[in-house]
């Protein structure tokens, strides 16, 4: 019903000769997701302010769908493409076709491999690789540069997972820290799965775990619950998460978690559409436009707003 109304509404708009507005194609990661949904909403709201029409396509976390949606965007002869890549490589041919059709493209939220550079005008948003590095620094600080840790990673093969894990590992190597990664397990950004794998990790390594790095706060929560089950009276090792969720802030306040990294989905969405609007207006933009990433610990938890 909703879709029918929407179809009718758009048909009405289309028939009233409203074709002069610029249209931007936004290939988002998903419609219903804790981070993506507010980012999408912020982007669309800002677009309305800017007078830009947004054609929003959801990949539903399916890369193959996304590569095909890029073709849809090119066929629609839109004025610009904002892509949320879920794979560092697979979209390159699609982006190349967009370039052939003189449609400018930018990336939101996640980077792609260097091969993609020639085909995109800019990459806006938090760099997941950078986040991995920041997490490494934070955990390293908590451990005094020494100890052994476990990594609770997201979905295997997912772009965010790859960035956040490799950023973490590369940074540890780079800094020559005396930190050993005991194991990396996938928990698919799912709290329940994280809970289950954490139970097993705790059983397996026990006191060897000096620190924990979770690819997002949801999975960090899973580890905390597992730890409480296993050692109700013992304090958990320092846990570092990413995303800056509300409940992570609570955990940091109560000392259950060491730190998280705030990245605001609203900032993320707004920056992307602002950048695209500038490109359409013919302005030059920087090829890398980060959104602020803030490491939140007990020290500054009171002064920072949670992301969502």
């Amino acid at each position: 019903m909703r879709s029918m109304l929407k179809i009718a509404a758009v048909a009405l708009l289309a028939s009233t000769g409203w074709a002069s507005a610029k249209t931007v194609c936004y290939v988002t990661a998903a419609d219903s997701h804790a981070y993506a949904t507010p980012a999408n909403k912020a982007l669309e709201a800002r677009a309305k302010e800017l007078g830009v029409e947004v054609l929003s396509l959801s990949q539903d976390f399916d890369v193959q769908k996304g590569t095909e949606q890029l073709n849809t965007c090119v066929a629609r002869k839109v004025d610009g493409i904002i892509l949320w890549p879920l794979d560092p490589q697979a979209y390159i041919p699609g982006l190349a076709r967009a370039q052939q059709a003189n449609i400018p493209a930018i990336l939101i939220n996640s980077p792609m491999s260097d091969d993609a550079k020639p085909f995109i005008k800019s990459f806006t948003g938090p760099d997941v690789y950078e986040e991995g590095k920041m997490a490494a620094d934070s955990l390293s600080k908590a451990l005094g540069g020494k100890g052994s840790v476990v990594i609770i990673a997201g979905q295997a093969g997912n772009g965010t997972t790859i960035g956040r894990v490799s950023g973490f590992n590369d940074r540890l190597k780079e800094a020559n820290a005396d930190i050993k990664v005991l194991d990396t397990v996938n928990a698919d950004f799912d709290q329940q799965k994280a809970l289950v794998v954490s139970r097993d990790l705790i059983t397996r390594f026990g006191d060897q775990i000096n620190g924990v790095y979770a690819n997002d706060d949801t999975m960090a929560r899973g580890f905390i619950d597992a730890w409480k089950e296993a050692n109700p009276s013992k304090a958990a090792p320092p846990i570092v998460g990413i995303n800056g969720q509300k409940d992570a802030f609570e955990s940091i306040k109560s000392g259950e978690m060491y730190s998280t990294i705030v990245q605001s989905p609203v900032e993320d969405g707004r920056l992307a559409i602002n950048t695209m609007a500038e490109i359409i207006d013919g302005k030059a933009v920087k090829d890398r436009l980060p959104i602020p990433l803030t490491v939140v610990t007990k020290d500054n938890v009171g002064s920072v707003e949670p992301a969502f």
Partner: protein, 332 residues
Amino acid sequence: MTRALVLASQYRVVIILGLTLVISALVVPGYLSASTLSLGLDRAATIGLIAIGLTVLLIAGQIDLSGGAVFALAGIISVILQREIGILPAAIVGILVGTVAGAINGALVVGLKVNSLVLTLATMLIFRSLAHWITNSQPVTGTDIMLSLALAKIYLEIFTIRSALFIILIVLLHVWLTRSIPGRNVFAVGSNPAAAKESGIASDRIVFLGFVFAGMLAGLAGVLQSLVTNTGSPVFGSELTVAVIAAVVVGGTRLEGGRGSALGTLGGVLTIGSLTIAMEFQSIPAYVQQVVSGLILILLVVLDRVVTTKGRAPGTRPALVRDDPITQGGKV
């Protein structure tokens, strides 16, 4: 009333496809342009290629859930090997991988005499795990990005290589299913395996080859996808199987075997493809799209069911048309 329903059911794919196109054309400006159609066709091609294989399998009374995993595995192999042996040989090896995967499915189903639903659920896990194992869960990149662009080129204003291949194959499949002896035997095996066996039809061989064929086409689709994106990823195709089954069933092929057609599958694939594009053009959220396609699927099978029970010719006994064809022709 009943007559109208029967007619509606017989031509349901045409009707639903027509409706989709008409409504889309009304609400989406420029929907019926060559570029949109070619786009729809190209997007339908991936689902379509796998659906070709699945059509044959479903008619033979089997199912294959591992198509999406084979799709990923074949693509990965074809990309990894590009550096070693060149693009074309690697692509051929990729298709062979799909064929072998299908042969494994077929050999296990025929050899162990097990239900293909559960078995291919298991091999889906196995092939998907292999894909992760081989790539260490990282996507792999091909050597020549220009080839990807060439593959996406549009010929005659409407066909990409991929969509042309799909159309040609499905027309060939139609001829084979309706006008060839082995094609008719596939129906016999799916409709009444015991009768087929006693008439000297090598049912086991047909089922086995059906799986091989399905695997080969999933492999082909995977290799093409990897060439078009210049990437092989272990997460490719994870959502494909459901879409493929939906397309084939919308096309009128029966899950219990014995009934189905290639042109129906073509209609089903095009319906799903054009519906998706029409809804995407309107920025309709993915979950609403899901509800719409789910409703269409359910409505079509309900219509089919209502018509086949009501429109049965008088004098035939429903008891003969059993749900489980295997129980027919057994011992008294």
